[in-house]
Symmetry: C2
Subunit: 93 residues, 2 copies
């Protein structure tokens, strides 16, 4: 059974940096924290540290929007769309 924490999901989506992270994750199946960090800084011109991004990831993971596993030296991160499925139900349709 899946915990429905709409609150955490909406909060997570409220930050623009986190939405860019999801945009990036939406493009490839999985990515390391390091890869993601360089992409955000280089491609999106964000001025943020790796630790800053790690905190955003913690928020996204808490909301269930991101899942991650440690693979050797790397932390592999992937987008979980499930919490988004019926998010706007009750207001739309």
């Amino acid at each position: 059974m899946i915990k429905d924490n709409r609150d955490a999901v909406f909060k997570a989506l409220g930050d623009p940096t986190r939405r860019i992270i999801l945009d990036e994750l939406a493009e490839r199946s999985e990515m390391t924290l390091f890869e993601l960090t360089t992409r955000l800084i280089m491609k999106h011109n964000l001025s943020i540290t790796r630790q800053g991004i790690a905190k955003h990831l913690a928020v996204l993971e808490e909301a269930g929007l991101v899942q991650s596993v440690r693979r050797g030296k790397y932390r592999m991160i992937r987008f979980n769309r499930e919490p988004l499925r019926d998010l706007l139900k009750g207001w739309l349709d």
Copy 2:
């Protein structure tokens, strides 16, 4: 042409009190600020002042999620679902 301020929309949805406001507005076609205030306080047990709610409404209106007109003594408020339509496009479907 409609301005697409996803940023303001996501921010607006990030607060639980504002989501309750939308829930209430979703139930009837329009409501006065006064009506809304009493509903939030009585029905939802929120401890918040009228001014606090007015500020939330300003945020929602900025995001285009709410529209309001002054009718005589009252301010009539209604839910505008339009900004929600394709909000999750790019991530879902």
